[in-house]
């Protein structure tokens, strides 16, 4: 049947590209794999150093298959983007994630809002990075591309959307709504012009208002590029270990590891910037499981990237390096599982909904984890043995220790994040019931994570400060003296800063000092010992950036002040909360500011609340106006209202505020003055209990005048009234008459008000029951002073954090560029 207005051909094209991408990935894995694993192929380049298999037909077939795969991926993206841009709401994905009024820039956010879309962007980056391997991996091309092919095969299967023997394989974004399982067989799916007839198809559900933020345009693709970057070290490691080259893979993988560190780190903190700007969590990091799930692979990738230097320079630590590199990619897969399986539903605010793909996700995760583990076990013995201990003053020794410290950090975060998974496995209702009662996530997550992560940060910052000064093999004592100046300066500066900022927790003070130490010593290293050039600056700048991130996070979080303190005392054990009530037009004290709420206005989907901040004058009264903020509530009738903050940025602190409560009723509703409408049927002498505090009694029904039409005997005019007495429980009493009139065929109900008691009555007419009358009552809405509740924080020195992110991104970019450019050409004589 041809459905009118439906773009089923495009849906077909989307499906076609999906199958093309899938078969392309299969071909990539197959052809590269066959060539790679054929006998004698695993021995690297030939005698002349050329890639051995350059002329193999399988190689061409593998490349061709990967090209087809890439065409498929680009095709998928194109079709989906076209569908969203053209508002084809017959596509389930488009209907769910976009709407007609969606601003153009958020089309991309809509593209990756859903699971299917985020898989697509991930697959896309893998395909893009794969081409770098095809072009530049040389002898590693077969091995790495076989791994890439396998990964792509599994990932594209997640968007296949087919049923094999009744088992759902993947979820396709190209399913039309009428093809959804829950709609199959419904009568409307056979109507030819259903798209025109059913109003629901005229507009989509719209993008979650929380995601309608510019950070959401760039955060997901950056994060997924970071995730995708972990595939390359993984692919190199797997290829290297299978080819019995357990150390050599490190050299080509190293720049990619740093590329991943830079991009993933930036991507994670872009998410933090989004949370800080668009969410009313009150901060940039909340230790939410979904945030943690992206942080952990970054931590292990950092460890892997640093260990790679040891392998490259010293030909040791090959095992630990491979473990960390593989773990990073596996943790990305695990993070995918955590956020998409719905297992975090109880513990996270922003996980995806369950698409019924848990089995497939677990299979994917299990396949790669078990495979990597077996590979490591089987080939562990091919690692070169070294019997000598690394010297205590050597760089390699401390790099290993540092990476183990990072591992401890990663394990703790993973463990706590995985509590819902552990419950599924060993909880009372789990697969193997071991635990007596289900574990719940810690109630105070900040205290929980900080108890381990702050000591880790202290150790890591100390290592960052000192290890760059160490040499391979061993370091002469004289060199160690180079860190003394920065150590002394940071002790003094850090101490002063801790005193100035009134740090009361010793751990925080220590981290403040060690953080400054690592910032200063890396700056010192770069400027005094490495010449201060851009080419040499990558390492020092990246370290400096990370030290700034630590410092910025520490100060802005540790010294975050809630200036909106509710002055109402509740109980000594139950502290008043941090929401301040501001009546309209009033100015209230919010130390060190005075705030005034001047009104609200509606702009598009936003209801903005104008708040003025004043300084405090000498006599403690409001001083001069400093700035205005407009925190807003995003109104979305389909998904609920979202509170969004507004922030005043100063160079050394931010004033962050959001409206935590506001009366969102429409102005008409607020102004009507009468609420709690209720119906009653009353007869003479009857009583009704109204509004839980009044007794309404119908004293009598008075007919004042009545005229009949003589010929017919019908009523021509009638004037009557009900005499009602309203009695309050406290004894107050009031009697009124409510008129009712009929003129021919027209009845006019009358209204009257108990002025003193604040109740209004409408006499609606005669009831079906003889002798009884229909009435409506309202009570007067209490005189409400309009107010909002506001929460406001001061985040000191949060710009240090953002500066750190930029520095780290630049630093890693420089480091990667240096690795790609190769060794510095010898200076000309």
């Amino acid at each position: 049947m041809n459905f009118i207005g439906e773009h089923s051909l495009w849906a077909l094209a989307g499906r076609f590209f999906t199958y093309l991408a899938f078969t392309g990935a299969l071909g990539t894995a197959l052809f590269y794999g066959l060539n790679w694993l054929r006998p004698g192929a695993c021995s690297g380049p030939d005698e002349l150093g050329r890639p051995k298999a350059a002329h193999e037909p399988f190689l061409r077939a593998g490349r061709g298959a990967f090209a087809l795969h890439s065409i498929g991926v680009v095709g998928i993206l194109t079709v989906l983007l076209t569908a969203i841009l053209s508002h084809w709401f017959e596509f389930d994905y488009v209907w769910r994630h976009s709407s007609r009024d969606l601003p153009l820039e958020y089309v991309f956010s809509a593209l990756w809002e859903g699971q299917e879309g985020s898989f697509i962007i991930w697959i896309f980056w893998h395909a893009a990075l794969g081409w770098f391997l095809v072009r530049g991996a040389k002898t590693w091309e077969h091995g790495t591309m076989t791994v890439v092919g396998l990964v792509q095969l599994v990932l594209t299967s997640m968007i296949l959307g087919i049923y094999v023997f009744g088992v759902k394989i993947g979820s396709s974004p190209f399913v039309l709504i009428r093809e959804m399982p829950e709609n199959l067989g419904l009568p409307w799916t056979t109507i030819k012009d259903y798209m025109i007839r059913i109003p629901a198809f005229r507009d989509g559900q719209g993008l979650n208002p929380l995601l309608q933020n510019y950070w959401m345009v760039i955060h997901p693709p950056t994060l997924f590029l970071g995730f995708a970057a972990t595939l390359l070290p993984f692919a190199y490691a797997v290829a290297g270990w299978i080819e019995r080259r357990p150390l050599e893979w490190v050299t080509p993988a190293l720049p990619w590891a740093y590329f991943g560190v830079g991009v993933l780190g930036t991507g994670i903190l872009m998410g933090g910037a989004w949370a800080y700007e668009a969410l009313s969590f009150g901060g940039f990091w909340a230790w939410d499981p979904v945030e943690n799930a992206s942080l952990v692979p970054w931590i292990t990738l950092v460890a892997a990237a640093h260990l790679m230097f040891i392998v490259k320079k010293k030909k040791t630590s090959g095992g630990l390096t491979a473990i960390m590199a593989m773990l990073s990619f596996l943790l990305v897969l695990y993070s995918t599982f955590l956020t998409r399986s719905g297992v975090l539903g109880d513990s996270s605010v922003h996980s995806f909904v369950d698409l019924g793909l848990n089995g497939q996700l677990m299979l994917l995760l299990g396949l790669f984890s078990v495979g990597s583990l077996i590979l490591l076990l089987v080939r562990w013995r091919s690692l070169p043995r070294s019997n000598a201990d690394e010297a205590f003053s050597s760089r390699e020794f401390w790099l290993v220790i540092g990476s183990l410290v990072l591992l401890i950090s990663a394990v703790q975060i993973s463990f706590s994040t995985s509590i819902p998974v552990l419950n599924k496995l060993i909880g009372p209702e789990g697969l193997v019931p071991i635990l007596g009662e289900a574990m719940a996530p810690p109630t105070d997550v900040f205290r929980h994570y900080h108890s381990i992560q702050i000591p880790v940060a202290i150790v890591v910052s100390l290592f960052m400060a000192m290890v760059p000064f160490l040499r391979w093999d061993s370091t002469p004592n004289a060199l160690l003296k180079r860190i003394l100046p920065s150590l002394l300066v940071s002790l003094v500066l850090g101490g002063l800063a801790a005193w100035g900022l009134k740090f009361d927790q010793p751990m925080y003070t220590v981290l403040l000092i060690t953080g400054m130490f690592s910032a200063l010593s890396n700056l010192d290293l770069w400027l005094r010992y490495q010449g201060g050039g851009w080419r040499s600056g990558g390492q020092a700048l990246a370290h400096l950036g990370f030290a700034f991130i630590l410092l910025g996070a520490l100060i802005s979080n540790g010294k975050k002040v809630a200036i909106s303190q509710n002055p109402v005392f509740l109980h000594k054990d139950f502290p008043a909360n941090e929401h301040i009530l501001i009546p309209l037009g009033d100015t209230v004290s919010m130390h060190p500011y005075w705030v005034e709420w001047t009104g609200e206005r509606v702009e598009g989907h936003f209801q903005l609340f104008d708040v003025n901040f004043y300084g405090t004058a000498e006599n403690q009264s409001p001083g001069k106006k400093l700035f205005s903020l407009a925190p807003y509530i995003q109104m979305n009738p389909r998904m609920g209202n979202v509170r969004e903050p507004s922030t005043k940025h100063y160079w050394d602190h931010d004033v962050y505020t959001y409206v935590s409560f506001a009366d969102m009723r429409s102005p008409e509703e607020k102004a009507s003055g009468w609420t709690e409408e209720m119906d009653a049927t009353m007869g003479r002498g009857e009583e009704v209990f109204v509004f839980e505090e009044y007794m309404m009694r119908c004293d009598s029904i008075i007919v004042k005048s009545a005229q009949m039409i003589e010929e017919t005997g019908d009523l021509a005019t009638l004037d009557m009234a009900a005499k009602l007495t309203l009695k309050h429980m406290d004894g107050r009493k009031e009697t009124i008459e409510v008129p009712y009139a009929v003129r021919g065929n027209e009845a006019s109900p009358g209204e009257a008000e108990f002025v003193n008691l604040g109740v209004k009555v409408r006499f609606d007419g005669v009831s079906d029951e003889p002798g009884r009358f229909k009435m409506k009552f309202w009570r007067k809405a209490p005189e409400e002073q309009e107010f909002i509740l506001l929460q406001a924080f001061i985040f000191p020195y949060i710009n240090v954090l953002w500066l750190g992110v930029v520095l780290m991104a630049i630093g890693t970019a420089l480091a990667v560029a240096k690795r790609i450019a190769g060794p510095k050409p010898a200076p000309k004589p």
Partner: protein, 128 residues
């Protein structure tokens, strides 16, 4: 390799320590009855909002008071010292973290709501 083994041992010891701390920090899922026995320990209660009972919000203290039903069907008054979450009434499940005051009420420090999936409304596609 002796020192390397020693390092491995130290790392494992630290890991074990970190995990111990972590496990001890984990709270438990409880019912209101279990919560009242565990006071003053914080627990997590999963339940539902009782829409029959009034939900009152005192704006001057910004205190929310409502009644929740836990998985055993037991009811408890809950105080939440925060403004009312948006779409609170629409939640189909609420996860409360906090502590019980004994037998009178539950003091929630944090509320996580599960709202009905916006996709669930298939009825929207019926042709009228």
């Amino acid at each position: 390799m002796k020192r390397n083994h020693l390092i491995a041992l130290v790392v494992i010891a630290f890991l074990a320590g970190a995990l111990m701390v972590t496990i001890q920090d984990a709270s438990t899922y409880a019912t209101f009855e279990m919560a009242s026995k565990k006071t003053p320990e914080s627990v997590t209660v999963v339940g539902q909002l009782d829409l029959e009972e009034p939900i009152t919000f005192n704006s001057s203290t910004s205190m929310l008071r409502f009644t929740a039903v836990d998985k055993d069907g037991a009811r408890s008054i809950v105080y939440y010292n925060q403004p009312k979450p948006t779409d609170f009434e629409r939640s189909e499940e609420i996860t409360l973290t906090g502590l019980s005051s004994g037998d009178t009420a539950f003091f929630a420090q944090n509320i996580l709501m599960k709202c009905p999936s916006k996709y669930a409304d298939e009825a929207q596609f019926s042709s009228k």
